[in-house]
């Protein structure tokens, strides 16, 4: 609790002056509001009794004047309040955005993206609405309560005590409600989150659902959670339905008590009618705020939950950061060394990599093969520090990667992943993603080298075509070529390729292979390899098994070793090779091949 209050304080601290100012305005407003019943009282007791018309005019003028001041102050106060709320939200959103994008892969591996996104969106929204109106209203109500209390007691303590008495259970009722409602809302939010994930899975996995004809199972699952959500909502409603009418009732009860006891006093002449009306007016001044109190406490609960979750993210230290005194990297030669490297995931005992020792010379072309789960991807992910080693050290040009300035390390490493994620912006900007300052010529040159220029020109707006959900849908092969162009434009010293391009047709495949070989020239390259040609051409082949490098060497060395590589070769690769020989001995008749852009085959 205390910790979260401190967090809240850090959020509003930059706006301390504005908050003070808003509070002053608020105070003025409250005083003016409390002045109106006093004027009305004077009108009844003095103006009407004394029969003085001039008094009425003065009173009306006073009301009008105060009304004008109130309107002006009110304008300033309302705007200022919103100003504070939006600035707090603006800051918080910035902080979240910046923090989340710096959290490590390991964090994101375990955090469902949908949940993260909804936290940022929803929690900031609820915090914003509370930080603005909520807090100020809360302050106003407190000031009103105290102010009116003092006023009433100084006038007539007995009647004041009677009038105020219903407010005590009201305050108790609402604060109690506030305590419980936060938890209830959290439950509702969580269930809503559950419902979204079921929905998301169902939609993403729609083909699987259809293929196995499990629509009914899915519908049942959805209905169950939908029902749970309904029940939880009703629980909140039930609480709310209890509290809301009671607050209204208690305020009305105040009026009734004033009327009964105050009325008797007025009949006995102890107080004037004007005083009675003023008392009642003060009670009514409290009526609206009192009803809002329950709602506010409610919003406070929601905001509190949001605050908790938001700071859960903000307080997560990024695992992987630049060291305090980073060494700015010179241009790499491209020598990579692994010394006794082991890796395991944080909450896991099982090592993914064990005791890896490896030296890669500059400009060497390294192919990594091994079964699924043998640690190939993890191995390459250690070089740009997507993960940090659990033991040992990874060095580039003899320097521990953990001592380097992170951006200057990563900028020299180009990566083409198996799935080519593009951003929903223009193709040009996607290509220049790693180097926003690249010139038009450079971008086009990269696209050409990536065999993408041609299809880009065929798109409706060429390089300015927007990619993605709301724009043009590109095929897997097209996306991959843009991803290759993107890496190419970085002109990285070290290149990491996940060479799984087999989901495209033969023609595209051919283009991609050409693009890749351009990309690999003159750089240290690590390829998670699938095909024989790549493996054979490599200067160094690493064979991985269960987190270890079990064999390394060139194609011929490894064949001579007669180990795992030989086995894989015999079983898989050789099979391909023989087919290849079988086919390549026969001449090609290109005229029979019907491709749209045949010239790119030459």
């Amino acid at each position: 609790m205390k910790r979260h209050l401190r967090n809240l304080k850090t959020l509003v601290k930059p706006y301390f002056r504005q908050i003070v100012l808003a509070s002053v305005f608020l105070l003025i407003l409250t005083v003016i509001e409390m002045a109106f019943p006093a004027i009305i009282r004077q009108v009844i007791d003095v103006g009407l009794k004394g029969g003085d018309q001039r008094f009425l005019i003065v009173a009306a003028g006073l009301i009008l004047g105060l009304g004008l001041i109130k309107a002006l102050v009110n304008f300033r106060e309302q705007y200022l309040t919103e100003w504070i709320a939006h600035h707090v939200a603006y800051d918080l959103r910035n902080r979240l955005y910046n923090h989340i994008q710096r959290l490590s892969f390991q964090y994101h591996d375990h955090m469902p993206t949908g949940q993260l996104i909804s936290r940022v969106i929803e929690d900031v929204r609820s915090l914003q609405s509370f930080a603005g109106h909520g807090l100020v209203e809360l302050a106003r109500i407190v000031i009103l309560l105290v102010g009116i209390g003092i006023l009433l007691f100084s006038r007539h303590p007995v009647l004041a005590a009677i009038a105020i008495s219903p407010l005590i259970p009201m305050v108790l009722l609402t604060t109690d409600f506030g305590k419980r409602v936060g938890r209830l809302f959290l439950a509702v939010d969580n269930t809503l989150g559950e419902l979204s994930s079921i929905l998301q899975e169902n939609v993403v996995g729609v083909q699987v659902v259809r293929a196995f004809a499990q629509e009914k199972y899915e519908t049942d699952r959805f209905d169950q959670t939908n029902r749970k959500l309904f029940d939880r909502q009703i629980t909140v409603v039930r609480e709310w339905a209890k509290v809301m009418p009671s607050t209204i009732f208690l305020v009305t009860l105040g009026t009734i008590l004033i009327l009964w006891f105050g009325g008797q006093m007025a009949i006995r002449g102890e107080i004037t009618v004007g005083e009675l009306v003023a008392f009642n007016s003060y009670m009514l001044l409290l009526a609206n705020p009192a009803q809002q109190l329950a709602w506010l406490v409610n919003a406070a609960g929601e905001a509190y939950a949001g605050l908790q979750r938001t700071f859960e993210i903000l307080e997560t230290e990024p695992d992987i950061q630049s060291p305090p005194n980073p060494i700015p990297c010179p241009v790499f030669r491209g020598e990579i060394q692994f010394e006794r490297v082991s890796f395991r995931y944080k909450q896991s005992e099982r090592p993914i990599l064990r005791d890896i020792n490896l030296k890669i010379e500059p400009n060497q072309r390294v192919a990594i093969i091994g079964a699924t789960g043998s640690g190939k991807t993890t191995l390459v992910n250690l070089i740009p520090r997507f993960y940090d080693v659990s033991e040992g050290v990874v060095k580039i040009d003899g320097m521990d990667v953990r001592q380097m300035d992170l951006p200057s390390l990563r900028r020299q490493i180009g990566i083409v992943l198996q799935t080519s994620l593009l951003f929903s912006t223009t193709i040009r900007e996607n290509l220049a993603y790693g180097r926003p300052d690249a010139s038009e010529e450079e971008i086009i040159a990269a696209a050409k080298a990536a065999q993408a220029h041609e299809f880009i020109l065929e798109l409706p707006q060429g390089y300015d075509t927007v990619v993605g959900e709301r724009g043009v849908t590109l095929s897997g092969g097209q996306r991959q070529r843009i991803a290759i162009g993107r890496a190419l434009l970085m002109n990285p010293r070290i290149l990491i390729l996940d060479d799984s391009t087999s989901s495209v047709d033969t023609h595209t495949e051919h283009l991609i292979q050409k693009a890749l070989s351009t990309l690999m020239e003159g750089r240290t390259t690590l390829i998670i390899a699938q095909r024989l040609s790549t493996v054979k051409k490599a200067d160094l082949i690493l064979v991985m098994d269960q987190g270890r490098i079990v064999e390394q060497g060139t194609h011929h060395q490894l064949l001579a070793l007669d180990g795992l590589y030989r086995q894989i070769y015999d079983l898989q690769l050789k099979n391909q090779e023989e087919l290849e020989d079988d086919l390549l001995t026969q001449p090609i008749d290109l005229s029979r091949v019907n491709f749209r852009s045949r010239n790119s085959l030459e």
Partner: protein, 595 residues
């Protein structure tokens, strides 16, 4: 610098005024609850009457009780007031509870119906409609509707009731003073109108701005790995902070300024009315034309009179977004279902697996270009058939017709002689196993994912299926074996491992017809070796249709179909087609250049 979000972001944010068609559509959901709705409207009328009655009772108490010095009269009035307060309490309680319940029920109904409808929409729908948009429809848009139904509708009704009640009571107490008070109303209407048109504009802009913020945020989180790989953090942050988020801040501040002008303005007019009543009403009291109690009541009513007016102008915003949300929900619900069970559809009995295409053509409903044209083909039961061809040649459509994800636009697809349109989809698909290129796993344990193929399978059967495809070994090495949860982001399982699990899932379903859509392409060579054994087990004795690029998979097939431009241009075994020196031969020549 004028910054606006790219127009593509805004597709989902439309704004609508009153649209009777949308209202009618939404009313269909409200209709089942008309009885409790009517009841709660009745309760609403009671509470409004009670709240209007308050000041009138105060007037009576002042005039007839206190001024007249009559204690019994005062007591009676106080008791009446108390009774009214109790009634009001009960009525509000009932109203809030019933209305909220109705609101929640309607939400539940709409979400259920939407989900149900989604389960029946064709697959091509999902390629046009992104996951994000579907979630926004079912989660957010429906929530907007709820707010409208439970709170706004009620509040509008209450405001109107109270307004009418007050006007009526004031007129009956003293018409002249009432008209005097109402003289500020035209002014209020005027500034409300001025405010509303500007406010609408700002409201749109704020909604656009926040949705831009949210989409940029979401994309950055989704693409996080690329962001970090390319060290774009600083630049992205600067863009977010100075452009996207800033834009949102600026527009919101503009809107806030307008709102801060309007509400104090209305408030000031209310105070003006009060000053008028004090001056002229007070003079009337002096001239004995008005009782002091009435004056007091008038002052009290003025306080209550302006609240509903302010409230109503505020509701207008939410009304706009409700109309837009409502329309989008109805559009989704009204999306036609392309493939539906015929009314007299029969359950397909256990099949042998013979597939026959009779003069089959297909094109998508929104595009008249044929994807498949005039295909005639017989695949005998038990045959393994590989489909080969370029992207877009029609391979995927071919297999989708077999599983009846689409209906042919011409011709008939038959399995064991049954026209697929005459059998239930469920009985057909239960006998077709489909493994896709992207091995989708649901959150849940590995075991649950395999069991998805056949929900009533025993643990032993699940494990047997995993063993048969060669997945058992790695599953046992997972932290909790078969009970290891599968996580999003895939930290635990590689793509190849996921694919093996999806093979086990297909095997467990024990289909007669097996369809592999590039299922082995995301698997590495080593894993494929493991899979090959499992795969041949999977294919054994079933009719299989395979789309693949891997040579080994294709060459092992009993039969190869080369598809181009929606037609089967070559049909034969591997060696037959190689000898033929046609397209197949050349495709593979090309491929071997790379391999």
């Amino acid at each position: 610098m004028a910054v606006t979000a790219p127009s593509t972001v805004h597709e989902d944010i439309q704004f609508k005024g009153y649209d009777p068609q949308v209202i009618r559509g939404l009313m269909a959901f409200v209709q089942p609850y008309w009885k409790p709705l009517l009841f709660s409207l009745l309760l609403m009328a009671i509470t409004s009457a009670a709240s209007v009655a308050g000041p009138y009772l105060v007037k009576l108490a002042v005039d007839e009780g206190i001024d007249a010095g009559s204690l019994p009269r005062l007591r009676n009035l106080v008791l009446i007031y108390l009774a009214i307060a109790v009634v009001q309490w009960a009525a509000i309680y009932g109203r809030v509870f019933i209305m909220s319940r109705i609101g929640q029920s309607i939400i539940y109904d709409i979400r259920s119906q939407l989900f149900h409808h989604l389960q029946r929409l064709s697959l091509s729908f999902f390629s046009h409609y992104s996951v994000g948009r579907i979630i926004v429809r079912i989660i957010n848009d429906v929530s907007v509707l709820r707010e409208f139904i439970t709170w706004a509708m009620l509040a509008i009704a209450r405001d109107l009731f109270v307004l009418i009640g007050i006007i009526f009571t004031m007129l009956s107490m003293n018409p002249r003073l009432s008209l005097l008070t109402f003289s500020v109303i035209p002014l209020i209407i005027l500034i409300t109108r001025l405010f509303r048109s500007r406010a609408r504009e700002y409201y749109r802009e704020t909604r656009k701005a926040i949705s831009w913020v949210n989409s940029v945020l979401a994309e950055n989180i989704n693409g996080l790995r690329v962001v970090q790989a390319f060290s774009r953090e600083d630049r992205n942050y600067a863009y977010f902070r100075d452009v996207v988020n800033r834009n949102n801040l600026d527009i919101n501040l503009k809107a806030a300024r307008l709102a801060a002008l309007f509400f104090p303005g209305v408030d000031f007019l209310g105070i003006t009315a009060m000053a008028l009543v004090v001056w002229l009403g007070g003079s009337a009291v002096l001239g004995e034309q008005l009782s002091p109690g009435t004056l007091v009541a008038f002052v009290l009513y003025i306080n209550r009179f302006f609240d509903p007016i302010r409230d109503l102008s505020r509701r207008f915003d939410s009304f706009q977004s409700t109309m837009a949300s409502g329309e989008r929900i109805l559009n989704l619900l009204n999306t036609p279902i392309e493939v539906e069970d015929a009314p007299d559809a029969v359950k397909m009995p256990p099949i042998r697996g013979e597939i026959r295409f009779q003069n089959v053509s297909f094109h998508y409903s929104d595009d008249p270009t044929p994807v498949l044209s005039h295909i005639d083909l017989l695949i005998p039961a038990g045959q393994t058939v590989a489909l080969v061809g370029k992207t877009g040649a029609g391979k995927s459509t071919f297999i989708k017709l077999v599983a009846r994800f689409h209906d042919p636009t011409e011709g008939v697809v038959r399995i064991d002689g049954y026209d697929l349109r005459e059998v239930t989809q469920q009985s057909l698909r239960r006998q077709c196993g489909i493994v896709l290129q992207d091995p989708f796993l649901f959150s849940g344990t590995v075991r649950e994912n395999i069991r998805f193929g056949r929900l009533n399978a025993s643990d032993e059967e699940v494990e047997a299926a995993a063993r048969a495809v060669g997945a058992d070994e790695f599953i046992r090495q997972l932290p909790q074996g078969y009970d290891t949860p599968v996580e999003e982001g895939g930290a635990i399982l590689s793509v190849g491992q996921r694919q093996l699990i999806s093979f086990a899932r297909a095997l467990l379903a024990d289909p007669r017809i097996l369809i592999l859509d590039e299922a082995t392409s995301s698997v590495d060579t080593q894993t494929e070796r493991i899979i090959q054994a499992g795969l041949s087990r999977l294919l054994d004795g079933r009719t299989s249709l395979i789309i693949a690029h891997r040579l080994s998979t294709i060459t092992n097939a009993d039969r190869i179909l080369v598809i181009e431009n929606g037609q089967i241009i070559e049909d034969g075994t591997h060696s037959e087609l190689i000898q033929k020196r046609g397209v197949y031969y050349h495709l593979y020549r090309l491929r071997f250049e790379d391999e």
